[in-house]
C-alpha cells in the first residue's frame, strides 16, 4: 500500500474532505498491529501544508511510491518532545483550531511497525496537523488509552526536531574555548503523546478488512430491509409506566435572616480567652457586660452567642425603657449609677491624673526649667503654642532624666548676665495663705515630694499649724494636708521608710504620719509619752546610725532638739520611745572661762538647760553632732557621751538657728543666727573661720549647695543671698530681695536640679532657679578646705 502524498488525489475516504477547516482527524488507535495501521487515514496534504509552517521532517524512513517519488508523508503534528510521556497514536485534534505556529512541536512519527521492514506499510498515524497546545498535552495524556505500546517509545523512526527548542540558559560563563568547542547536540524525540483516540468506524475500501466490513454492512442492510415485512420482526409498542406525579406543599415560618458583622480584633479575642479562663457564670456576666455597644460578640464563641442575644435584648429593653413614658424610673437608675461612678476609686484616680495633666500644661515651661530639660529658646513666637510645642517635644516624661547641671556652664562662658535667681513658681494655696513656713524637707526616695511645715516661730503669733506634702507635679494643691492646732516647727522624711513623715510641733509633740494613706491621723504620736518635749521642737531629723555592736546594721532613729534643752532620740518600737542624747546645759560665758574666773554666783538662772535650736549630724560619722543653742553656742557632742560636750564653738551672740555641715568638706560647717550673722567654722577651731554680716536682719536659715562646696544660701528676713566663697567672701553672689512685708524664713536646695526653694512668711514656698552660675571649679573637692584656708589664712577668724 502506498500512501500518496502531495497533490495527488486522495484515494482516502472522503470524510477527510468534509472536515476541511478543522483538523479533526480520525485516528486509528489500533496501532498495535499492522492491521491497525492500515486503518489510518491520510490527510489531505494540502491541509497539512497549510498548517505546518515549519516542518523539517527528518524522516528516517522514506516512502517511495511506484514512480520513485518520494512520498514520505510529512507529519502534521509535532508533539512537544519535552512534555511528558509520548503515547503513540494518540493525538488530540485541536478543536480550538489554534494553529499557532509557535506551538509546533516535534512529534514523533511513530511507526506502528516495529521494524523498518514495514516501511512499506508505513502509515502515519499522526494525521492531524493539529497543533496541540501545551496545556492540553497533560490533560489529554490522561485520556490516553492503553493502546500504547511501550515499544513504541523506543521506536522513533521518524522524529522531527522540535521547532521550538527551549534552550537552557547557560549557567556558566562561556569562555572562548567553549565557543570553539564542538558541542554535540543530541536531539531526541519524545514519546508520543496520545490525547485522543477515536477509533474509526470507517474503513478504507482498499484495506484488507474492507471485504469483511462490506459484507457486514451488506448484511445489515439486508436485515433492515427484511425487517419490514418479516415475520421474524414484529413491531410492538410498549408503554412505560410513568409514576403519578404528586405535588406537595409545605409552608414554613418565615426564615429570619440576620446579618452579623464583627470586627474581630486582637484584644477582643484576648478578652474572650481571659474570660474563658475565669470561666464561671459571673465571668459570663462580665462578658456580657464587656462586649459593649460597639462590639458584636464574636461569632466563634458559641456559648457567647446566646449571651449576646440576651444582651441585645437587654439593650433593646433598656432602649424601650427610655422610650417608655415612665421616665422617672430611668432617671433614678441613672442617678444611682452616676453616683457610683462619682464615688468609684477609678474616678478619683482619673481626677488625680487629670489634675496633674492640667498642671503640667499650665506649668510646663517652669517644670521643664526645673528639671533642666533643654528648653528651646525660640525667637519670641507669635503663637505661644509653638513655644510650648517645642518644649513639649523636649520634655520626655514626668520622671524624666535630670541632667547634671552643665547647661549653665555652657551659657556662662559667653553670657555676661550676672548670676541670678529666677523664680519659677511657688507652692501655695488658699490653705497656706498667711502662715509662716517654718521648715522644708525633701523626701529621700521621691525627689519630687516636698514636705512643708507651717507654723510661726514666735510664741505670740501662734496660730494653727499645717504640714503639707507637695508634689512638683502639682504646684497648686498639696497632696497631703495634715492640720493641727499647733504650729509646725519641724518636718523630716524618714530614710528607711520614706513614707513616714515626722512632724514636730510648737507644743513639743512629735507626730509621725504615713503619707501613703490619706488619713489625717498620725501613725504615732508622742503626746502621751512621758518624755515628750516641753518646748517647741525646733528640729527633727532621721538619722541612720551604725550600730555594729548591737547586731543591727543600721538603725534609724529620730533625733529631735527642743527648747526644753534636750536632744532626744526617738525609736519606733511599739510607739515612740525616747532617750535623751544630751541635755544642753547652760554654759557660762566665754570670757569667764577664758579668764578662769569663777562663775558668778549671783546669776539667777531661770533654767539650767539651754534651749536648743538646731543640730546637725556629721555626714560621715553619725556619732558626732553639733548642737546650737539659744545662747549662741555651738556644742560638738557625741552620742556616746550624754553629759559632756566635746567642744564648744563660740562666736554667735544670738540664738543659733541653723547649723549645716559642708557636704564636701567635712571639716567645715556653717551656722546662722539671730545676730544677723553667718559664720563658717572649721571643726578643729573653736573660733569662727569666716563670718558674714550682710544685713541687719535675722538670718533664719542657711544651707549648703549640694553641687558645690563653695556655694551656700542664706535667708534672712528681707532677702535671700547666695554666696560663692570662691568668688567673693565679702559679698553674696546673688541677692534676691523679698517683697515688702514678707520675710524669707527657710531655704532648701533641690538635690539634682539647680533650684532653690525659699519659704516665706506668707505661706508660699517659691522655687527659684539658679541661673548663670559661674562654672564649677576643676579642683577636686577635697582640696576645698585648703583653698579656703589658703586664701583666707590671713583673715582673722
Amino acid at each position: 500500500m502506498r500512501m500518496s502524498t502531495g497533490p495527488q488525489p486522495k484515494k482516502s475516504i472522503s470524510f477527510i474532505s468534509t472536515i476541511k477547516g478543522t483538523q479533526t482527524k480520525g485516528y486509528s488507535g489500533a496501532n498495535q498491529s499492522r492491521m491497525a495501521l492500515s486503518k489510518t487515514l491520510t490527510i489531505a496534504p494540502e491541509i497539512k501544508a497549510e498548517k505546518m509552517s515549519i516542518s523539517t521532517p527528518r524522516t528516517v524512513i522514506q516512502v517511495i511510491d511506484a514512480h520513485g517519488v518520494d512520498v514520505t508523508p510529512r507529519p502534521l503534528y509535532h508533539p512537544d518532545p519535552h512534555t511528558g510521556t509520548a503515547k503513540p497514536n494518540k493525538l488530540l485534534t485541536s478543536r480550538e483550531g489554534s494553529f499557532a505556529a509557535e506551538f509546533i512541536s516535534s512529534y514523533s512519527l511513530y511507526q506502528n511497525t516495529l521494524n523498518p521492514s514495514m516501511l512499506g506499510h508505513f502509515t502515519r498515524s499522526v494525521l492531524g496537523s493539529s497543533i496541540v497546545s501545551k496545556s492540553s498535552v497533560s490533560t489529554t495524556e490522561s485520556i490516553a488509552e492503553d493502546l500504547e505500546e511501550p515499544s513504541y517509545k523506543r521506536e522513533k523512526l521518524t522524529s522531527f526536531t522540535d521547532l521550538r527548542v527551549v534552550r537552557a540558559t547557560p549557567g556558566k560563563i562561556v569562555t572562548k574555548e567553549d565557543l570553539e568547542k564542538t558541542i554535540e547536540i543530541i536531539l531526541t524525540e519524545t514519546e508520543t503523546l496520545r490525547f485522543f483516540n477515536l477509533p474509526t468506524v470507517m474503513v478504507s475500501v482498499e484495506s484488507e478488512e474492507a471485504m469483511k466490513v462490506r459484507r457486514r454492512n451488506k448484511n445489515y442492510e439486508t436485515l433492515c430491509r427484511n425487517r419490514l415485512g418479516n415475520d421474524l420482526y414484529a413491531e410492538r409498542m410498549m408503554q412505560t409506566i410513568n409514576g403519578a406525579p404528586k405535588n406537595k406543599d409545605v409552608q414554613c415560618d418565615k426564615i429570619v435572616k440576620e446579618d452579623k458583622g464583627i470586627m474581630s480584633t486582637a484584644w477582643d479575642l484576648h478578652d474572650s480567652y481571659i474570660a474563658m479562663e475565669l470561666s464561671s457564670l459571673p465571668a459570663k456576666q462580665s462578658i456580657l457586660d464587656s462586649c459593649g455597644k460597639a462590639n458584636v460578640p464574636s461569632k466563634d464563641r458559641e456559648q457567647r452567642v446566646p449571651g449576646s442575644t440576651t444582651e441585645k435584648d437587654s439593650e433593646a429593653s433598656s432602649l424601650m425603657d427610655i422610650e417608655n413614658v415612665i421616665l422617672t424610673k430611668v432617671r433614678d437608675d441613672e442617678v444611682d449609677h452616676s453616683e457610683t461612678i462619682l464615688k468609684s476609686d477609678k474616678f478619683h484616680q482619673d481626677l488625680f491624673f487629670m489634675e496633674r495633666v492640667l498642671m503640667e500644661n499650665i506649668f510646663q515651661p517652669k517644670l521643664a526649667a526645673y528639671r533642666q530639660l533643654p528648653i528651646l529658646k525660640e525667637p519670641e513666637p507669635e503663637k505661644p503654642e509653638d513655644f510650648q510645642e517645642g518644649e513639649k517635644l523636649e520634655k520626655t516624661e514626668e520622671e524624666g532624666q535630670k541632667e547634671e547641671e552643665e547647661e549653665i556652664e555652657i551659657s556662662t562662658g559667653q553670657s555676661t548676665i550676672p548670676a541670678n535667681l529666677e523664680r519659677l513658681w511657688s507652692f501655695s494655696c488658699d490653705l497656706t495663705k498667711g502662715l509662716n513656713v517654718s521648715s522644708l524637707a525633701w523626701n529621700r526616695t521621691n525627689p519630687d515630694l516636698l514636705a512643708v511645715g507651717y507654723g510661726h516661730f514666735g510664741f505670740r503669733e501662734q496660730k494653727r499649724g499645717l504640714a503639707c506634702c507637695w508634689s512638683i507635679k502639682n504646684p497648686m494643691w498639696p497632696e497631703r494636708i495634715y492640720q493641727s492646732p499647733y504650729g509646725v516647727t519641724a518636718v523630716d522624711f524618714s530614710i528607711g521608710a520614706p513614707n513616714l513623715l515626722a512632724v514636730g510641733y510648737h507644743n513639743g509633740t512629735i507626730a509621725i504620719y504615713n503619707v501613703q494613706s490619706n488619713s489625717n491621723v498620725p501613725v504615732l504620736d508622742s503626746s502621751e509619752s512621758p518624755q515628750k518635749h516641753l518646748g517647741p521642737v525646733w528640729q527633727l531629723q532621721w538619722i541612720e546610725q551604725d550600730r555594729g555592736t548591737t547586731g543591727d546594721d543600721k538603725r534609724e532613729i529620730l533625733v529631735s532638739i527642743s527648747a526644753d534643752g534636750r536632744i532626744s532620740k526617738w525609736v519606733i518600737r511599739k510607739g515612740l520611745d525616747c532617750h535623751d542624747l544630751m541635755r544642753l546645759k547652760r554654759t557660762t560665758s566665754s570670757s569667764s572661762k577664758k579668764g578662769g574666773e569663777k562663775e558668778k554666783k549671783g546669776e539667777a538662772l531661770i533654767s539650767r538647760q539651754a534651749p536648743g535650736m538646731c543640730f546637725a549630724f556629721h555626714p560621715k560619722d553619725t556619732n558626732i553632732y553639733l548642737a546650737g543653742t539659744e545662747e549662741g553656742h555651738i556644742h560638738k557632742c557625741s552620742c556616746s557621751y550624754n553629759e559632756q560636750y566635746l567642744e564648744t564653738y563660740r562666736g554667735h551672740k544670738g540664738p543659733v538657728y541653723k547649723i549645716a555641715w559642708n557636704p564636701f568638706c567635712h571639716d567645715v560647717f556653717l551656722s546662722c543666727s539671730a545676730d544677723w550673722g553667718v559664720i563658717i567654722w572649721q571643726q578643729e577651731n573653736p573660733k569662727p573661720f569666716l563670718s558674714f554680716y550682710p544685713t541687719t536682719y535675722v538670718v533664719y536659715d542657711v544651707a549648703w549647695s549640694p553641687k558645690s562646696a563653695y556655694i551656700f544660701a542664706a535667708a534672712n528676713e528681707s532677702r535671700v543671698e547666695i554666696w560663692h566663697l570662691h568668688i567673693s567672701t565679702l559679698d553674696p553672689l546673688i541677692v534676691h530681695v523679698a517683697n515688702p512685708g514678707i520675710k524669707f524664713t527657710t531655704v532648701l536646695f533641690a538635690k539634682q536640679t539647680d533650684c532653690l526653694l525659699v519659704g516665706d512668711s506668707d505661706g508660699q514656698v517659691g522655687v527659684y532657679e539658679l541661673r548663670n552660675m559661674p562654672a564649677a571649679l576643676d579642683s577636686g573637692r577635697g582640696d576645698v578646705i585648703d583653698i579656703l584656708i589658703g586664701s583666707k589664712s590671713k583673715q582673722p577668724g
Partner: protein, 97 residues
Amino acid sequence: MQAEVEETLKRIQSHKGVMGTMVVNAEGIPIRTTLDNSTTVQYAGLLHQLTMKAKSTVRDIDPQNDLTFLRIRSKKHEIMVAPDKEYLLIVIQNPCE
C-alpha cells in the same frame, strides 16, 4: 472620699485656662458638666467614638495593654479624656495663657 472627689473636681474646674469639665456616663448622658447640654452631648458622643478607636488600637497592638489617657492638642485648646468603661472624664483646657 466623696467630698474629696467633689473638691478635686471643683479645683479642676476652677483652674486657669480650663474651659470646661465634663463627666459623662457610658451612654453619653452627662453626670457633671460645666458646659451646656448640647455641647456636652456633642463632645461626649464624638470623644466616645474616638476613645473607643484609640483603645482598640492600643489593645490591638498588645492585648494586655490598655488606654489610660488621651490628649488631643489642637490649635485652640487641648482636650483631655480619661476613659473608663463606665464614664468619660473630659477636660478642655486652653493652656497658652
